[in-house]
Amino acid sequence: MNPEKNIETQLEQLAQAIPSGSSFVDGIMSRLETSSDNVQQKPKPTFVRRLVMKNTFKFAAAAIVLIAALLSLTLLDKTVAPAYALEQTIQACHSVRFIHLRQINPQHKEEPILIWAEFFENGQPKQIRMNLPEWAGSEDGAKEIVWENNAATVWFKKKQGFVRVPEKRMADEILKIVQEQDPKTYVKNLLDAQKNGKVEIQIEQPTDKAEPIRVTAIHLPDRASKLVLYIDQSTQLPLNGETYTLKDGDYVLANIGEFYDYNQPIDPAMFAFDNVPEDIMLVDQTKNQIGLIQGTMTNNEVAIEVVRRFWQAIIDKDYAKASQMYEGIPAAKLEQGFGKLENYKIEIVSVGPVQPHPNPKTRGVIVPCTIKMEVNGEIVEQTFDRIGVRQVYNQPGRWTIFGGL
């Protein structure tokens, strides 16, 4: 057995190996229907009642002792301030080197966002693996991300493509998501909000040490949302947090964050991609500068120029240059696609004007382009009206085509 293999995966695989089916349930219910196997009636507690009646005095004395004990506990709870304070959790979190997080959206319970993180001794992230299901992956679909050395490798599962991006922007965005879920940041933000009067915090510490401490933070002044955080009494580390939003006078569960496997070393394989299809496309933006330098051109001018240069590179069969204009997509991939037009005589008819992109989240513009293709005396004009152009992530002053043509 591979001890490093993720235990959850192994449990899921084990469960899948055990058969189940509706015929099993039907079989049992049929047996219960057709046989005399009926549920027995609950026996009446006559014996207990007689015992109590005979021992009224003893029972009363015992009850008084019990009530006194309960009262003392209650009084203690009310008069003594809770032993727990959020600072203890922040302190405890400093020792966390490994953690597995799950973020659950109640609308997509079966598909949580999964995060595995390893931290340096100073608390900064060392390696991160994040699996984003389709519902959380915007228009790109499901993504798997590995973050390391300030760079992120993103596997766009829907698009069958790999993108490796340098530090900043996307890598930072990934880091931000994880840091928001990092328990020490999570709790520190809560404490800061309390100090600034932005939340009202209630702490309930059960006397039963096996039960978690419940920290309820209500957002002020509108009380429009609340966070309920459960803290393990023995380790002082968060177990899970539930976020609620106020809807029609009731708090409705909006998000669940679960914290697992504190300081359980994570299999190094989690920070690498396996089972990657051989024909996947790799775009490495950490090694190559991509796009066209804007220089003194306006945004619209550079957007048009990127598209014009791309098509000119295709006409010239300079696929390396075309790759540079098109997000760094491998030249071989472009040659594979556009090489089919080898016998065509291609001309650029028009490029532009620039139009707004239908999806503002892309931060891009649309640059329509019409191309004339001639082969064996036959001429075809083709207009591409979905070519998106935008600034390159973390390469200021550079512009590139993005998305599909």
């Binding site: 959850e8 449990l11 190996a17 099993f24 349930v25 229907e33 549920v39 027995q40 609950k42 978690p212």
Partner: protein, 174 residues
């Protein structure tokens, strides 16, 4: 929100057989797993699990803590499996084996899965129940909390402990 075991048990005692069907659906895989652990074979395990559900139904009124239905059922399943283990087992016809999907070809779990199942069954009652419901029953943590009547925090903690225990155990050589 999942209905708790305690509520379902009460409904069954009030005469609602549908509620028992829900309990069977909920614990089918956990019961099969408990039986496979003892019998090592899918076919006999299915018989044991069925017997256990019928016995549990007959004895349901005697269950003092309805919220503990899952743990209680596992004990009954274990007894039913041991009963079958003590009897002479019929041979499984070869033609029925040939019709099974590959992973069930010999009616047994592979060695690695058997080892993990053995360790799952060795967990403390409360931890075993949350593992079985979470993974074998396919419930989310909050559903497991609803079903068992425990807080989400407690379930999370029990799952985490179970993971730790299992991780430690499977590190040991077979």
């Amino acid at each position: 929100m999942a209905v708790s075991d305690a509520v379902l048990v009460k409904e069954v005692l009030d005469g609602a057989k549908d509620a028992y069907a829900e309990l069977v659906r909920r614990y089918e895989r956990p019961a099969r797993a408990a039986a496979i652990h003892i019998l090592g074979n899918y076919h006999f395990a299915e018989d044991a699990a069925q017997d256990a559900f019928v016995k549990a139904y007959q004895q349901l009124a005697g269950l003092r803590k309805p919220a503990m239905f899952g743990c209680w059922l596992m004990k009954i399943t274990r007894r039913c499996a041991l009963d079958i283990a003590g009897k002479k087992r019929p041979d499984v016809p070869l033609d029925s084996v040939a019709e099974m999907p590959d992973h069930r070809r010999n009616g047994r779990l592979d060695e690695e899965k058997q080892h993990l199942l053995r360790e799952v069954m060795r967990l403390a009652d409360s931890e075993r129940q949350v593992v079985l419901l979470r993974y074998f029953g396919g419930h989310t943590v909050s559903q497991v909390a609803d079903i068992t009547g425990r807080s989400v925090g407690t379930v999370t903690k029990q799952l985490s402990r179970a993971h730790q225990h299992l991780r430690n155990q499977i590190k040991e050589p077979l």
